[in-house]
Symmetry: C2
Subunit: 199 residues, 2 copies
């Protein structure tokens, strides 16, 4: 019998696809087969997008979101309300906040949340950078807009403790956002409502 690597030349691609979150061996096999048999253009486009994104995207030095520049377009916008700083978990959450049109302040993106299951502790989030950012002398209110999940609440709780200890005013999105849901999936009206009623 031939070696597996000989009769399965897609094996290296299958192994690489398994590093995508939520992709097991059968899904990876199907993806590899699909790309090589039906969509080689898609495979090339994906390889190119990966390389270009790796080469061109950095973290904004001020808010930590993904950006093509050292400072992202929002942080570079001097016309926003410097007294408000909104803390979100991911760039997708930031985008959801922006789409509400109800917020004109700046952001800080944690790029994650406390998650003991995934080995993400307080030290892995940029909490010390958040403290430095919030203490720039202009920020008067830090609005915590982490998800209303157990992990998001734990993250908000820890951030609140740290920020209040430094004398900063901390608010949280109102509980109009349905408990147990994640921010980026919530309808915009609910997010806007919760923003107005922050406490």
């Amino acid at each position: 019998m031939s070696e597996t690597s000989d009769i399965q030349p897609l094996q290296p691609l299958i192994v690489a696809l398994r590093r995508l979150p939520g992709v097991g061996v059968k899904t990876a096999q199907r993806m590899a087969f699909h790309l090589m048999q039906r969509d080689q253009d898609g495979a090339r486009a994906l390889a190119q997008a990966l390389v270009q994104t790796l080469d061109s995207v950095v973290h904004c030095q001020r808010c930590h979101t993904f950006s093509h520049q050292t400072m992202c377009p929002i942080c570079s916008d001097a016309g926003r309300d410097a007294a408000r700083l909104c803390v979100v978990e991911t760039p997708a959450d930031l985008a959801a906040m922006e789409r509400t049109g109800a917020y004109r302040g700046y952001y800080f993106v944690l790029m994650g949340r406390i998650s003991p299951m995934d080995g993400v502790g307080a030290a892995d989030l940029g909490l010390s950078q958040l403290l430095a950012r919030a203490q720039d002398g202009q920020v008067q209110e830090v609005i915590l807009a982490t998800s209303f999940t157990t992990e998001g609440e734990a993250t908000a709780h820890m951030a609140t403790e740290l920020l209040k200890a430094r004398g900063l005013q901390v608010t949280r999105l109102a509980r109009g956002v349905p408990v147990g849901s994640e921010l980026e999936y919530v309808d915009l009206g609910t997010i806007a409502h919760a923003l107005v009623e922050r406490r």
Copy 2:
């Protein structure tokens, strides 16, 4: 408000990831975020695997499976039974047949099956190449090992008509394989049993 492409620099990667089968926009967002925030090595490995696979993997000119050579290791093996030709849908199905250890003939890999829903008709499968392969003068029996799904059965039916019209003996894996399942998921003992009892 900033442009979406400015505040979402991962957008090109998200678009590229959506070409993977079964990946919608939310899954693609999660994959892109995971790769860029937590596993840039994985992103590089995936880009490299895609390019290397695209550049090095071709179809075996004899059986159509994926291969690093013009002729795959199985087709190059002169020690196999040239009187038997087993028709499977995918390289994964071929691998499952090989793992049973119960088959010593050659293969023909359709690289798909008739699927009107996905726009895959008889012309898209290599049925004419299968006819040419089966009429090499050595093949005495063509064993159809397509899946026992509606689509696999339709494929087997069409192949049977074409092959019998040319005077070839056609057999089908015994129905020991549970109806409604796909070959690559079936346990090896069941496949081996179905091979022995082919009719």
